[in-house]
Amino acid sequence: MSTDDPRPPTEQLLSQTLTATALATPTTDRSDDLRRALERADGRKDEGAADLGRDEGPAAAPPDGTVDLGENPVIDVLRGPRASPRRRGLILASAAALIVALAAVAVLVDRGSDREGEVVAAPPATAPATGWFLPDGGWDVVSVETDYLDTGQAGACPCTLWAAARPGTDPAAINLAESGASKDAGLPGMPTEPIDVGGRPGTVSQGAATFLTVPSSDQHLRLQARGVDVEALVAVADAWLDQREAGAEIDPAELGLPAGFVATAPQEKSWDFEHLLAVRIREDDTGREVEYQLVPTGWNRGVLASASELTVEEGVFRVAGGTGDEAYLATVGGPTDVLLGPPFFGSATDELAPAELQELFDGLHEVPTADWRAALEQTDENVDPDVRAAPDLFSAPLTGP
């Protein structure tokens, strides 16, 4: 090392190493390859098919550091601060007033017909679900927290949960829940108007979403919808109640759903509280951390009512929505809802680019309980003991208070 160099020895050695390594790096003149590549690029231009998605030059990223995803412009960098468990509880309690929880035993999928309300049952899943999801390699579990959500309907369940949505960009959606006890009509802080639902007294509140309630002493019905006319919502509620009063099982095909809707089957839910798992993971190479949520019974299906993109794959809704701090990705409709990012209490990350988040989300996959527990062994703390003990996401002690 030079005695004239005032830098610390490590910095001197590092500079020398980098320079020596670089100078010793053999390089090959690939001019011919490059010329052919440029000619191919000309061909793409001629076809008007420039591959913008591959451009990672300086101009590819806007000044704010976000990345334009081209055909997938919905998801921006997720930045919002992570809610504390206490904060989450408050948020969840608020969400409980706004979001209708929906779960499915089987999912009905649209056959592509534009005939109103036509739905068909999807084949049932054959493999038993554990509800444990882990990412592809390169990430370690840091913590798993459990949050319990008071539905505000203690003693009212079993409840019936149901959802329907129209896939596409800016989809429409209807979430519905019914329970055996009447709750206060309308929603806190929202103006409520009386409305007739097939001769039954109901109330409606309209804001970013529409909330329709039909309270009674023995059957309480609440619908949350976006992109659906109040008249259409009333028609669905009316048809639902007609089927109930006739003593029939609910048939989504007879609910008069708007065209293009895909419906879940109604499901009876036997417990009166909800829980979610917040799984925090750390990337091996970079130390970056991300959190995703696993929800066994469908509180996250509220995302259907705020999604900006929605598709149906294998009977499961794949959802993207929000922008900036509120961006999220989710799959709902299967035994487990998986959510990366907001709404309400989503993970905070300001380090992953949208494409990285998409890649991470796509890599989340269900694993056997043994694999899940092995992953939890990577961390000695910050894992709820109930999570270590439960045989799956749907069993005690996770399903009890």
Partner: protein
Amino acid sequence: MRPRLQDQGAGRARGLGVSEPGREADRDLLLALYQEEREGMVRLARLLTGSVVIAEDVVQDAFVQLYDRGLGAVDQPGAYLRRTVVNLCHSHHRRKGVETRWRARQPPPQVELPPELDEMRRALSTLADRQREALVLRFYLDLKVEDVAALLDRPAGTVKSDIHRGLAALTEEITR
């Protein structure tokens, strides 16, 4: 004498390359630039990715992107290329699965260095990608922290932290 893009390309108007003669001229200019910048860019990419093969591919892609963008639209082709190479190397790090598979079937590097430098090189390979990127740009290209931050699109404070932690890890590794 080779045409110099810095002299000729910077003044070219957008739209050159639409006609075939114009495209030929742009290709010649880009190939001339390739001859000038190739070694430096490959060396940088090799330090960032740890692989000569990947470095060569990254540099090829960077030149194609510059060509796609249009030579006349870039005032400083050398700076544009460097940033594109850094971006592509960073993207490479994101594709960890591919990288891991590739590394698994690669022979060890053939570069021979004095023992103390070889030890430092091994220590460098143990760092997190983000730390290694910051250190290479800071101590190989001799960029200021602010310039490293701009190149990596990270806050300067984060880059400072990466450099500090990276140096600490290297010191610990080589004095162990």
